[in-house]
């Protein structure tokens, strides 16, 4: 299995990088874009021998303990087949 982990800043936290990117899109003439937030994306390769629930549990723990800082960030874990 492969776990896809998305780490994003909590909505209440200012994202100066996202703001700078948004500003650039405005300069380029993109209209109707109200906001851009920057996040991080991880792919975790898990042993094929693991069950889906074991894979999910491990990926969730890695996301919670390592990949995201719960003070400022939220995370989301998606499990997909290896070729996904």
């Amino acid at each position: 299995m492969k776990a896809k982990v998305y780490v994003t800043l909590k909505p209440s936290v200012l994202d100066p990088q996202g703001k700078a990117i948004h500003h650039t899109t405005e300069l380029l003439g993109f209209e109707n874009v109200s906001d851009i937030r920057q996040g991080k994306y991880f792919e975790i390769a898990l042993d094929a021998a693991l069950s889906e629930s074991q894979s999910k549990e491990i990926a969730e723990k890695i996301a919670k303990d390592v990949l995201a800082n719960p003070v400022i960030e939220d995370y989301k874990v998606e499990l997909v087949a290896d070729n996904g």
Binding site: L14, P16, Q17, A20, V66, L67, N69, V71, I72
Partner: protein, 233 residues
């Protein structure tokens, strides 16, 4: 009295801290490699500035899983002194020894300059040689120094007098203009509830010699040695 300076892969202010402790504070000091797990020989450890693990993932995030950090947590729990400077402050927040987090500066730039900070709490082991409201000139050098915490944590910091330094102007006024990175309420340094763990973004170890533009940092180290001496009597 013995100091230790922790060295992670990517630490780069470790030698500055070592120099200040040995030359200006005049105390024995060791470098401590991050694989070390025994800190029993020390009274205080400095978690120095730099770019531990290249700031990968988040500043300080990977360093907090180094073996030495478990020892630092026990060291702090036993009442010994832990002093995190810049990247060291980020590591202490990541490891939960201090509340909150340090994010990308409001203006996105790496800011490297002397700033003024005001002593908000003079009754900590790190500030006992200073007067409340004294303004210190200390350099900062960081891209992730924007202190954030939620309202509950902020209220606790205020109520328990854990805010030790705030960014201010030359006259000691706290203003948004004097805030170099967007930190909540101009916070430049905080301590834990027990007062034995301090984290600050400015670099007092770079402000101990007139030649370098300021020696205001000396009083912070002097405070700490005062306190350790008191405890050993």
């Amino acid at each position: 009295m013995k100091f230790g300076v922790i060295v992670f892969p990517g630490s780069n202010c470790d030698h500055d801290a070592y120099h200040v402790i040995s030359k200006h504070v005049g105390q024995p000091v060791d470098f401590i490699w991050h694989k070390e797990t025994d800190l029993s020989a020390y009274d205080a450890v400095i978690v120095p500035g730099g770019f531990s693990y290249g700031d990968y993932l988040r500043a300080g995030a990977l360093a907090h899983f180094s073996p030495v950090m478990e020892a630092v947590k026990k060291f702090a729990a036993s009442g010994k002194f832990v002093f995190g400077i810049c990247n060291g402050f980020q590591i202490l927040c990541e490891s939960g020894l201090l509340p909150g987090a340090l994010m990308r500066n409001r203006g996105l730039h790496f800011v490297c300059k002397h700033v003024n900070i005001r002593v908000e709490n003079q009754s900590t082991p790190f500030t006992n040689a200073l007067a409340k409201d004294k303004v210190l000139s200390i350099p900062i050098a960081h891209a992730e120094g924007n202190y954030v915490c939620d309202d509950d944590v902020y209220q606790q910091l205020e109520e328990n007098n854990q805010i030790v330094f705030r960014y201010c102007d030359k006259e000691g006024e706290i203003s948004d203009v004097a805030n170099p990175n967007g930190s909540r309420s101009n916070i430049a340094g905080i301590c834990n509830l027990d007062r034995n763990v301090l984290g600050m973004m400015p670099h007092p170890e770079r402000a101990c010699e007139e030649l370098l533009g300021s020696n205001d940092g000396r009083d912070i180290f002097r405070s700490l040695t005062n306190r350790i001496t008191e405890l050993s009597v």
